[in-house]
C-alpha cells in the first residue's frame, strides 16, 4: 500500500534554474497550467455561440460569472466592481485546483491547493492587497480597524491586541483552512483506497465495505472542493469589504 503522504510529493518534470533560483516545472506547475487552460477554454468556448437562450455549457459559465458578481455585490457593494476579475480568477483557480485534484490524472495528477505555500501565497496576497486598499482609501484612519469608534478608552488595552491578532491571523486562517481541508480529504481517500485494494485482494466482500465508504467520501470531497473554493473567495470578499467600508 502506497504511503498516503506520497500523493503530495512534488516531482520536477523539467528542472529549470535561473541563477540560484529553482523554477523547475513540476507536477504542481503542470496542474496550475492545466487549470488555467481549462478555465480559459471553458469560459471562452462555452459563450462562443453567444446564444440568447444559453445551452448547458454557456449556462454554467454564466452561473459562475453571476455567482461571483453577486457575491462581490452583496459583500462589498458597488465599489467592489473593479476587483471582480481578481476575485473571479481567485475563485476559479482555487475551484479548479480542488476539482482537478480529485481527478485521476496520470503523471501530473496533483492537488496544488493542498500545499500550504500555495494557499498561503494567495492568502498573503489578498491580505497585503486588502491592507493596501484600506490605507489607500482611509489613510491612517484605517488604524481605527483595531479600535472601533465609540468603544470606551479603557477597553483599548484589551481590544487593540485582540483586534490586531484577529487581523493578522486572517492570512493564516485563510491559508490553513484550504490547505488542511484538501490535505486531510486526500489522505482519507488514499487510506480508504488502500483498504479497498488490500482487503479486496483477498476477499471480495470485505473490500466492498471500504469501497462504499470511499464512494461516499469521494462525493463529500467534491462538495468540499466546491465549498472551500467558495469559503476562500467569500472571506476575501469580506476582508475587501472591511478595507473599503471599515467595520
Amino acid at each position: 500500500m502506497a504511503n498516503p503522504i506520497e500523493q503530495f510529493k512534488i516531482q520536477p518534470l523539467v528542472p529549470l534554474k535561473v541563477g540560484a533560483l529553482d523554477i523547475s516545472f513540476t507536477n504542481s506547475a503542470a496542474m496550475m497550467v492545466l487549470s488555467v487552460c481549462l478555465i480559459t477554454l471553458f469560459l471562452t468556448l462555452s459563450v462562443r455561440s453567444r446564444a440568447l437562450v444559453p445551452g448547458r455549457w454557456q449556462s454554467m459559465a454564466e452561473i459562475f460569472y453571476e455567482f461571483i458578481a453577486g457575491m462581490l455585490r452583496d459583500n462589498v457593494g458597488a465599489e467592489g466592481r473593479k476587483y471582480f476579475p481578481f476575485i473571479f480568477s481567485l475563485f476559479m483557480f482555487v475551484l479548479f485546483g480542488n476539482l482537478l485534484g480529485m481527478m485521476p490524472i496520470p503523471v501530473i495528477g496533483f492537488t496544488y491547493t493542498s500545499h500550504v505555500i500555495v494557499t498561503f501565497a494567495m492568502a498573503a496576497f489578498v491580505f497585503v492587497g486588502v491592507t493596501i486598499i484600506g490605507f489607500a482609501r482611509h489613510g491612517t484612519h484605517y488604524l481605527r480597524m483595531f479600535f472601533p469608534e465609540g468603544a470606551p478608552i479603557a477597553t483599548a488595552i484589551i481590544l487593540i491586541p485582540i483586534e490586531l491578532i484577529s487581523y493578522f491571523s486572517r492570512p493564516f486562517s485563510l491559508a490553513v483552512r484550504l490547505f488542511a481541508n484538501m490535505t486531510v480529504g486526500h489522505i482519507i481517500l488514499k487510506v480508504m483506497g488502500g483498504f479497498v485494494v488490500s482487503l479486496g485482494a483477498f476477499y471480495l466482500v470485505p473490500g466492498v465495505v471500504p469501497f462504499a465508504f470511499l464512494s461516499a467520501v469521494t462525493v463529500l470531497e467534491f462538495g468540499i472542493a466546491l465549498l472551500q473554493a467558495y469559503v476562500f473567495t467569500i472571506l476575501s470578499c469580506i476582508y475587501l469589504h472591511d478595507a473599503i467600508h471599515m467595520h
Partner: protein, 164 residues
Amino acid sequence: MPQFDPTFFAPQLFWLLLTFVTLYVLMTMVALPKIGAVLDERQRKIDDNLDKAAQLKAEAEAAVAAYERALSESRAHAHSVIKEASDRLAQEADERNKALAARLAEQIKAGEVRIAQAKDKAVANVRDVAVDVAGSVFARLVGSAADAARLETAVAAALKEHGK
C-alpha cells in the same frame, strides 16, 4: 510531509505567480468581457421586449377604450331611439283610447236617450191600457160607463202612487 519541504517553495511560488497572472490577464481581457457582453445583450433584449410589450399593451388598452366608448355611445343612441318610439306609441295609444272612449260615451248616451224614449212610450201605453182596463172593469161592475176625466185622474193617481 512534502508540504513543509522548502525545497519546492520557490518553483511553486514562481509557477503560481506565472499561472495566476496569466489567468488574471486572460479573465480580464478575454473571458469576462465575453460573458459580460452576452449577459448585457440578453438584458438589453429583455428590456427591449418588455418595452415593446408595454407599448403594445398601451395600444391594446387604447383600442379597448375606443371600443368601449363606441359601444356606450351606440347604446345611449339606441336607448334614446327606443325611448322616442315608445313615447310616440304611448301617445298614439292614448289618443286612440280617448277617441274610442268618447265615441263609446256618445253611443251610450244615445242608447240611454233611446231607452228613455222607449220607456216613456211604454209608460204611456201602460197608462192607456190601465185606463181602458179600469173603464172596462168599472163598466162591468157598475154597469154604466165611467166618466172619462175622472177615470184618467184616478189612474194617474194610482200610477203615481206606485211610482210610475
